[in-house]
């Protein structure tokens, strides 16, 4: 087999492309720009850390089935861990989102990073919601019977039946976590590829404003 033939292989091409876009020193950096020194950066990492805990506690609940936590002290405690890791996850994610907004984190070709973050947030909302309606307790009875009207009004209730606990549980533990984790991975890879957005350059902004005014006049 010639070297040209090897270079033409899909696998070789994909490896070269991936290594070019995301070399190891970008994926696992050992330095970072000095401006990355603010408490706001903690919340992105905290979001990822709490997501790992959400998945871990969810997996433990899945091991014993959907009714385990109702009648077992250990099960109920694991459920409490699951609940609070979700609460911390959303708190960290919302602060992260607002922080990124006020940093204008889409600048410098980072629009896709922003957009994947927004979609991840939506997927997380749906994952949490399906968790609430598949708890099989009073909360899930009330929340599902109220939420059905909103979803039915869009036509979606015909296919996404919040009163069907089995369907909601499957969405909660398989489909939506898969989507959320894949989106999170894409989001993090984009962050590593593009790097952390640099601070606004006030001088450049002022120059730009002057240029615009001059052009208008």
């Amino acid at each position: 087999m010639s070297s040209t033939e090897i270079e033409r292989q899909w696998t070789t091409r994909l490896r070269h492309r991936a290594a070019g876009k995301l070399p190891p020193e970008k994926l696992l950096p050992d330095t970072q720009p000095s401006y990355v020194s603010s408490w706001i950066y903690v919340f992105g990492v905290a979001t990822l850390a709490s997501l790992i805990l959400v998945i871990a506690t969810g997996c433990i609940l899945a091991l014993r089935g959907p009714s385990w936590w109702h009648g077992s002290f250990i099960g109920h405690f694991v459920n409490s861990l699951h609940l609070w890791s979700v609460e911390v996850f959303f708190f960290a994610m919302v602060v992260h989102l607002w922080g990124k907004f006020f940093m204008g984190a889409w600048r410098g070709g980072r629009t896709a990073t922003w957009m994947t973050g927004v979609v991840t947030f939506l997927a997380s909302l749906m994952t949490a919601f399906t968790g609430y309606v598949s708890q099989s307790n009073f909360d899930s009875q009330w929340i599902s019977t109220q939420a059905k009207d909103g979803i039915n009004a869009t036509g979606g209730g015909a296919y996404f039946n919040v009163l069907n606990m089995g369907q909601m549980l499957m969405w909660h533990i398989v489909l939506l976590p898969l989507v959320a984790v894949i989106l999170t991975a894409v989001h993090v890879i984009l962050v590593r590829m593009k790097g952390v957005v640099p601070p606004y350059d006030d001088a450049a902004s002022a120059t730009s404003a002057a240029t615009t005014e001059g052009a208008t006049k």
Binding site: D30, W114, N152, M165
Partner: protein, 314 residues
């Protein structure tokens, strides 16, 4: 010049400053440990809510009149389920936003016939009751107009319904088999048999609680319990959960729209709220591309607090 002009809300300046050591693996590990400790502390101190689900048995024993009245509303077609429209039946217009009638366009995909599914079919499963059997036969053989007359006559005096010595008593005349049907369904519910009958429609195994949940939600007992738990729509409904737990505060904006006119009293309030949230979500998604909105952070200048060390050093 315009092609190379720096756009402060779109472009990022080239960073020419210094770099600091950064151990991403160590940082991630510390984050997991710290968040893990925080979560364990919260779980130990606060636990989690688990208010038991209510059953039809519990409902009919706690509030037999409410149960019997709800059963009647399934027969006379006035319950929420009976008059819902799509996706359950064709008995209601459904919600509409201008020309958009999305649910109606999708159609009936989860068919619910309230009278048959919640009253008649469950009663058929009751054995060894000749009076009930005769009443069901009379119901089935009667014309639709006759049934309507019976149900209407019963409904007229249903306000005087009492629950005496374990029986639903209504001073109805010319109501045909309706008094027996309502009374026997109440008996059935109070033994727990109706919970099973509504679930077993699909065979032995089931995870679909659509029918019992629709029936329970048609009564006022579930809502009265939810009100005590501050979970009604005008109490910021879905984002709350039982007890004093935080619930889903991330749904605050969605829930907010239900608190303000016209959505809080509109027949199509759910669809209107969804429409607002879809627009706002699209704005959030496309924010980097929207002039004016994407300039907000630069004009607010909160970034100078976030990167205060950077600006101080430069």
């Amino acid at each position: 010049m315009s092609t190379t002009r720096f756009r402060p809300d779109v472009d990022a300046p080239e960073y020419k400053g210094g770099y600091s050591p950064y151990d991403i693996i160590k940082e991630g590990t510390i984050a997991i440990v710290v968040v893990g400790i925080l979560v364990v502390l919260l779980a130990v101190v606060f636990g989690s809510p688990d208010e038991p689900a209510i059953t039809i048995k519990k409902w009919s024993n706690a509030a037999p009149i409410d149960f019997a009245t709800t059963a009647l509303s399934e027969l006379n077609g006035t319950s929420l389920s009976a008059s819902y429209g799509a996706p359950y039946n064709h008995n209601g217009p459904g919600q509409q936003l201008g020309p958009l009638a999305l649910a109606r366009w999708v159609g009936v995909r989860i068919p619910i016939n309230s009278a048959n599914d919640f009253v008649i079919n469950p009663l058929r499963s009751q054995p060894n009751n000749p009076v009930l059997k005769a009443s069901l036969t009379a119901w089935e053989k009667a014309r639709a107009s006759t049934r309507s007359t019976w149900v209407a006559n019963y409904t007229k005096v249903a306000g005087r319904m009492t629950f005496t010595h374990g029986n639903v008593v209504v001073p109805a005349t010319n109501a045909g088999p309706v008094p027996v049907l309502i009374n026997d369904l109440t008996h059935m519910a109070r033994t727990g048999a109706l919970d099973t009958a509504l679930l077993s429609g699909n065979g032995f195994y089931t995870t679909d609680y659509t029918k019992p949940l629709l029936f329970i939600a048609d009564g006022s007992y579930l809502g009265s319990l939810a009100q005590k738990q501050h979970m009604l729509g005008d109490q910021w409904g879905m984002m709350n959960e039982t007890g004093s737990y935080p619930g889903q505060p991330w749904l605050w904006l969605y829930t907010f729209w239900y608190q303000v006119p016209p959505m809080n009293s509109s027949h199509s309030g759910d669809l209107e709220v969804f429409a607002i949230m879809i627009v706002l979500t699209l704005v959030l998604f496309f924010l980097p591309l929207i002039p004016g909105l994407r300039a907000i952070p630069r004009k607010v200048k909160l970034y100078r607090v976030i990167w205060r060390e950077h600006y101080r050093d430069t």
